[in-house]
Amino acid sequence: MSLLFGRLTLADLPHEWFTVGGTATILLGLLGIAALLTYYKRWKWLWQEWFTSTDPKKIGIMYILFAAVMLFRGALDAAMIWAQQAMSVGSNHGYLTPAHFQQIFTAHGDIMVFFVTMGFLSGLLNLLIPLQIGARDLAYPFLNTLAFWLYVAGAIFINLFFVFGGNFAATGWLSLPPLSGLAYSPGVGVDYWIWSLQISGVGSLIAGINFIVTILKMRAPGMTLMKMPLFVWTSLCSMIMVVSIFPILAATLGMLWLDRYFGLHFFTSDFGGNPMMYINLIWMWGHPEVYVLILPSFGIYSEVVATFSQKKLFGYKSLVGGALGITALSFLVWAHHFFTMGAGANVNAFFGIMTGFIALPTGVQIFNWISTMYKGRIIYSQPMHWFFGFLATFTFGGMAGLLMSSPAADYALHNTLFLVAHFHTMIIGGALFGIFAGIVYWFPKFTGFKLDERWGRRAFWFWLVGFFLSFAPLYMLGFLGATRRLDHYDASMGWQGLFIVSAVGITVIGVGALCQVIQIIVSVKNRKQNLDLTGDPWNGRTLEWATSSPPPVYNFAVIPTVQTRDAFWEQKQSKTITKPVYEDIVLPRNTAMGMYVSAFVFLAGFGLVWHITWLIFFGLIGTVVCIVMRALDQNTEYIIPAVEVERMEQVWKKN
């Protein structure tokens, strides 16, 4: 082991076709972007307006763009998995080696959960929470940039093996021991995995604290808890889960790292370690995590359904109660992920029954949305399309989950493609469709123009049809006994037809995604026809629509006072116009410190993967120094004087 490079040697640098190809793509892409920025002289703009910004509206947009790039990366993995499975039968062994195939499905799962879904959600929360509660910012602007840059650092980390070599983990998205222990995974793959999740996980934890404090402490006067919009409620529940489970994830990853770095025995199968403990701990994080992903989407559906049915939400209280019920129950069901571990009939019965219970509050939500639509004058716009798609898929997936909540059935279905179909139905049809609905719904708020309707609908139909084409066969394959993560199967199984249908489905989804790209291009081109000058393009009900599109940096010139639930709706009905009294507004200055801290953390992580001791200390000390410098900085805010606020407001009103 060399002092300078630890375990990193020339032999580790990329030499397989996929790592070389990946490296080339990444480098060429970065060079291209750099060239464009230089040509248009946009470096300074990028740095000042975006990278160092503390404005949650900008950070939110960066999250969403980054998550979209990651979605592309994750989808590429998915396509590779499906292609392999469609052809690798009998004497044909496909185009991937088993080792490579394993790395792909591991990366696919982690990218989709941590960097796509979590990224989109963090973005939407950043954009909307302050606006919906009538605040000007989040509680901790610096921590917000820090969380974002940690997320970016984690995402770069998961792609790093392309450039710096070694391999990625081949252990599945949760890297269960003893497979992920040193004895069976001696390379650096699992270490890349650990630090990617650890870094981005700490980012999520910080973001969780930030949002909780924001929601509980910074609501506009008069907005009691029971007057909060539903998206705020479900986000609050989601963030409560985040702060409860991400510490467990951090500890668990930390223990796995200790096992691997120092040869300790938390999860080894000898020396008194206990691998099953890891499986318990990781699912104590993992099950609530799936609800972290879905709950904000539930909130989005609630907003969308109310707005486009032009009605008050039906059963607000039971929706809130349902979200809280889901939050509480989700801590009590983790063992349904390993009924087959052999914990005994009573333990399994308890967790099985608890899991069944979760369907109750979930069902309540569905009935409330349907009742909201009842007798409403429904406008069938794009966000409603995604909502209807969700109703169909989610009910489907929920029934599948319920089936598996019975331990007896789960013994047959566990780790088959039936399970894979279940959670994809929930995450794509539930969480992701909600995110899409949210993006089309709030797009005009942050850009000033609406997205093209026709291409949006095309995208939706391709996604929906593609979704069922690719996942319905997986339910069947699961029943036929096909286990998950197969890189090869025997022709006599008779599975190939279904696998091929499934691969076709993925292609159809790809066309849907293409439609979305076209949609954005077309919308930007025709933005003059779709401008939103009022700030309220959908006849909305909640406070974000009371601002201009896009909102000014300070969101609200005068913090609104809230009397009822659909605050903006009431405001519009009453039509009383009082002359606003403007005040000085204090806002956070830009800072690059979040980025610097993440860069040092990243370096420390790299040192930890390759056992480069000096780099670890360099990274850690840099991190501490940056944090202390930030803490001692006395010049972190600036003031917009009242006259300037008044001037900015006049400009908007005139348009």
């Binding site: 909780i212 409860s244 510490p247 120092f262 040869g263 025995h265 008194g272 000085d584 805010e637």
Partner: protein, 200 residues
């Protein structure tokens, strides 16, 4: 006139910020408690997995740990005195009491280090068995927190000396003291579950 108004907006902002920071820090402490809980759980699962090696009964010296405990409890007390002084706006006393706390905390850390060193030299390092793995991790995690607390305390003292007891620095000291008391409470659990129950 203009200037004064600016100050008013900023001042309100600072006061609100101190309140938010206080609440947010409580949320953070709860998350930290949960990560401790996870490692505690690991200890509870692995405590009897000595794999033929020594158990707590053979390794721990209660009088030694008792002294550690007293030192840490006393440091919590002096930390409380420092905070009382901060409320009175007595800068000198704040520094004196935090210095005492610092010395006590550092002594605790040195003792812990001695204990670890002795165990490792005798061949009972964390690689020896599942039990020792979880012991070192749990106690070490607490020690790491103490170390961070000391670092924080040092910087806080220097800054109080330089900038005086402003809204900002008082809010910072309040959070520091919360952190310190929190570590004290965690230690009580470690003392009881790891050492007392380990020896019994």
């Amino acid at each position: 006139m203009e200037k004064e108004l600016e100050n008013l907006a900023l001042k309100n902002f600072e006061i609100e910020k101190a309140e938010k920071d206080h609440f947010g820090f409580w949320v953070y402490l709860m998350t930290d408690l949960l990560s401790f809980a996870a490692v505690f759980a690991a200890f509870a699962v692995l405590r009897n997995n000595t794999f033929g090696g020594p158990s707590g009964r053979e390794l721990f010296s209660l009088p030694f740990v008792l002294i550690e405990t007293f030192i840490l409890l006393t440091s919590s007390f002096t930390c409380g005195l420092a905070m009382l002084a901060a409320q009175d706006g007595d800068k000198k006393k704040v520094i004196t009491w935090f210095s005492t706390t610092f010395i006590l905390g550092a002594s605790f850390l040195v003792m812990e280090f001695t204990e670890f060193h002795k165990l490792i030299v005798e061949g009972n390092g964390p690689q020896r068995s599942g039990f020792l793995t979880s012991f070192f991790a749990l106690v070490g995690l607490h020690g790491l927190h103490i170390f961070i607390g000391l670092l924080w305390m040092f910087i806080a003292m220097v800054m109080t000396q330089k900038r005086g007891l402003t809204i900002k620095s008082k809010s910072n000291l309040t959070r520091l003291s919360l952190f310190w008391h929190f570590l004290d409470i965690v230690w009580i659990f470690i003392f009881t579950i790891v050492y007392l129950m380990g020896v019994m």
